[in-house]
C-alpha cells in the first residue's frame, strides 16, 4: 500500500508539461461460471456470477533525460462468492539511461519480449499473456534489466528476474511457486530482418534456447519465434525429452485503420489425445473418490490432493495444454479513431476448443477511452477451453488520461 501511496505523491508533485503521464481507470470483469471437471464439487468456491471491480492507476514520469519512473497497479474488490479486497502492483520500476548506449531498469516490470502476438515461447521470464484477450495489461516480474546497444544494428538485454505465474484477471487464484530466471537476448538487424537469440534458465524451470525472426514483405510483416528445451514444462516432466515450441504469424495493416493478424502455435510438449484422455481419466477418478462418502477419509484426502494437482496442470502450462493452436484477429478504427471494433478467435486444433473475443472501444475525447471485450468459450465438451470453470466473460475498462 505504501508503494501506491508513493506513486500518488509523485503524481501530484509539479512537473513540466508532457514529462508526466497519469492514467486512472475503472475495470469490471464479469464472469459467468460453469461447473466443469476442473472445478469438481466447486473446489474453487465460485458463485454462478463473479465480478472483479478494480480501480487502476498508471503513472510515468521522466526526471531529466536519463531517469524515468513507472508505476501501475490496481485495487480490486471481488464481488461474488467472496467479497475480498486486494491491491497489486503491475509495474513499479526506475529506469536509468546513459545516453543511447546503456539502460538499466530495476523493479517490477514487463519484459515483453518475443515477436509472437498471442504466444511468446522465448519469454519464460514472466507470466504468459492471455491469448484470448491480449489487450489486457499484464503483471510484471520483479527484475533487474540491462539493455546495451553497442551499435545501431545490435543490442543485448540481460535480465535477472523473480516471477510468480498467476492466473491474473480470473475470479479464482491459481498461483505457481515463484521462480528465479536469468535470461539473455541478443538482437541484430541484418538486411532488414530482425534476428534475436535468447538464452533463458534458472531455478524451477527448463533452460531454453530461442530464436526470434521478423521481416516485412510488402504490406505484410512476418514473424517466427521458437524455443527449444529439454524436459517438459507441463506435467509429466519427461525429463530426457527435447521439445520445441514455435509461433509463426503475419500482420497486415492498412495505416492505423485496419489490422489483420494470424498466428500458428506449435506447442511441442502439448497433449495429444491419448495423454489428454489419460489426464481427464485421472481428473474424473480422483474427483469421484474425493467426493465418495463411503471411502476412508485418508483415501479421500489423497484423492483430493491428486485432483487439485491434476486440475492445476492447465493453469501451470501457461502457453496452453494442447499441441496446435491458431489465432486470428481483426481490428478496425472508425470515425477518426473514436470507435474501434475488434474480433479475435483462438482455435485449439488438437481438440476443437474455440474462444471468440469481440471487442468495442469508444474514445469520445483524446483523453478518455472505454473498452469492452466479451469472451465466449466454445467447443466440444471437455475440450480445453470448455473445461475452464467459466463460460463467458465481459471485460470493461474505462481509462482517463492526464
Amino acid at each position: 500500500m505504501r508503494r501506491v501511496g508513493l506513486a500518488l505523491v509523485l503524481a501530484l508533485l509539479p512537473a513540466p508539461l508532457r514529462a508526466r503521464e497519469l492514467e486512472l481507470g475503472l475495470e469490471n470483469f464479469y464472469y459467468r461460471t460453469a461447473p466443469t471437471l476442473l472445478n469438481a464439487g466447486n473446489v474453487l468456491g465460485l458463485a454462478g456470477r463473479e465480478d472483479l471491480l478494480r480501480g487502476t492507476l498508471r503513472y510515468r514520469e521522466a526526471l531529466g533525460a536519463s531517469v524515468r519512473l513507472v508505476a501501475s497497479g490496481y485495487v480490486q474488490r471481488r464481488l461474488g462468492a467472496r467479497g475480498d479486497t486486494e491491491w497489486k502492483a503491475r509495474q513499479a520500476y526506475v529506469q536509468w539511461s546513459a545516453g543511447e548506449l546503456l539502460t538499466v531498469r530495476a523493479g517490477r516490470q514487463r519484459i515483453a519480449w518475443g515477436s509472437g502476438f498471442a504466444w511468446n515461447p522465448t519469454n519464460r521470464v514472466e507470466a504468459p499473456k492471455n491469448p484470448l484477450n491480449t489487450s489486457l495489461e499484464q503483471q510484471g516480474a520483479l527484475a533487474v534489466r540491462l539493455d546495451l546497444v553497442p551499435s545501431a544494428w545490435s543490442g543485448l538485454t540481460l535480465v535477472a528476474a523473480r516471477s510468480v505465474i498467476e492466473s491474473g484477471d480470473l475470479p479464482f487464484a491459481v498461483r505457481q511457486p515463484a521462480r528465479r530466471t536469468a535470461a539473455l537476448r541478443a538482437r541484430f538487424l541484418v538486411k532488414d530482418t530482425d534476428l534475436a537469440l535468447v538464452f533463458s534458465g534458472g531455478a524451477g524451470q527448463r533452460t531454453l534456447v530461442g530464436l526470434d525472426l521478423g521481416r516485412t514483405l510488402g504490406a505484410v510483416a512476418l514473424h517466427a519465434e521458437a524455443a527449444a528445451y529439454r524436459g517438459a514444462e507441463i506435467a509429466p516432466p519427461r525429463d530426457g525429452q527435447r521439445f520445441l515450441r514455435l509461433v509463426a504469424g503475419l500482420l497486415w495493416t492498412r495505416g492505423e485503420h485496419l489490422t489483420l493478424s494470424a498466428e500458428y502455435f506449435w506447442n511441442g510438449e502439448g497433449y495429444l489425445d491419448p495423454r489428454r484422455q489419460d489426464w481427464l481419466g485421472r481428473l474424473r477418478t480422483s474427483a469421484a473418490l474425493a467426493a465418495d462418502p463411503l471411502a476412508p477419509p485418508e483415501l479421500r484426502q489423497r484423492a483430493a490432493a491428486e485432483y487439485l494437482a491434476t486440475a492445476g496442470i492447465p493453469f501451470a502450462a501457461g502457453l496452453g495444454l494442447g499441441r496446435h493452436y491458431v489465432q486470428g484477429s481483426w481490428t478496425s478504427r472508425l470515425s477518426a479513431g473514436r470507435w474501434t471494433t475488434s474480433a479475435r478467435a483462438v482455435l485449439g486444433l488438437s481438440d476443437g476448443s474455440l474462444a471468440l473475443t469481440p471487442g468495442l472501444e469508444w474514445a469520445p475525447r483524446g483523453d478518455l477511452t472505454l473498452a469492452v471485450d466479451a469472451i465466449t468459450l466454445l467447443g466440444p465438451a471437455e475440450s480445453e477451453f470448455r473445461l475452464a470453470p467459466l463460460r463467458t466473460a465481459l471485460q470493461a475498462r474505462l481509462k482517463v488520461h492526464f
Binding site: 508532457r18 503521464e21 510515468r60 521522466a62 524515468r68 529506469q95 539511461s97 545516453g99 543511447e100 548506449l101 539502460t103 514487463r110 515483453a112 515477436s115 502476438f117 491480449t134 489487450s135 495489461e137 539493455d147 546497444v149 551499435s151 545501431a152 543490442g155 538485454t157 538482437r187 538487424l189 532488414d192 530482425d194 521478423g214 521481416r215 516485412t216 510488402g218 504490406a219 505484410v220 510483416a221 514473424h223 500482420l251 497486415w252 495493416t253 492498412r254 495505416g255 492505423e256 485503420h257 478504427r333 470515425s335 477518426a336 479513431g337 473514436r338 474514445a363 475525447r365 483524446g366 483523453d367 478518455l368 477511452t369 481509462k399 488520461h401 492526464f402
Partner: protein, 241 residues
Amino acid sequence: MSRLLLLALLAAPAAPPDPTALLQRAEKAVLGENAVYTMRMGVQRPGKPERVVEMKGFKKGDERGLLRYTDPPKERGTAYLRVAGSTWLWLPSAEKAVRVGAKQNFGGGDFSNGDIFRLSLSRDYVATLAGAESALGQECWKLELKARDRSVAYDRVLMWVRRDGTDFPVRIEYFTLSGRKLKWLTFSDVGRLGAHTRPRLLVMESALESGQRTELRFLTIDDNPRLEDRLFTPSALERGE
C-alpha cells in the same frame, strides 16, 4: 558598360538546372540532413470529425527516422521507427514493437509511411527535367521522377520546384504503375521556422476519394541536433523518450 552586361545577364533565360541536383536541394527544403522537429497532423474525412495528433520527430540522414506521438493523451507513446527498408510501430499498451509495411498509410492519414520517412527521393527515383511551368502561382521547374525499382510506393512522381532560387517544392503528384494519379502534396505557408525560411504546411490530398486530405504543420524544427544512430533502434522505442 558593366551595367549593360549585368542587365543582359539578368534578361537572359536561366540555364536549365541539373535535375538530380535540383531534386536534392528541393527535398532538403523542409527538413535538412538531420533534424528534431514537432508537428501536428490533421486527418480530414468527409462527414467525420478531424483527427488531430501531435508528434515529435527525429531524422538522421537518408536512412533513419523516428516519430513519437505526444498528443492526444490516449495515443501518447505510440511511435514509428524507420531504418532503411524496415518500419516498426511501437504499441505502448502492449509494450511491444511490431513491424509494419512501408507502403501503408501513416497514422490513418493520406501520407504513407514511405512519404513520411522517405528521406531521399533522389536515392529511390531518377529525375529528369520536364520543363518550366507555373504551379500554385509560382514559376517552377517541373521534374519527372521514375522509380529505380518496384520497392517504392509510387512508380512515377511529378514535382514542381520554385525557380526563384529558393528551390522550395510547391507541388508533388504521385502515380501508380498504371499511370493513375493517387494523390498530390502541396507545400505552403513559407516562413521562418528554426534557423531557416521554409514551407511550414504540407497538405496531402487524395485523388481517388474526394475531400480526403491530411495536413502536416511543422511547429518547431531544430536543424543541427546531435543524434546518435543508436537512437534509431527498437531498443530506443522500448526505453521511451
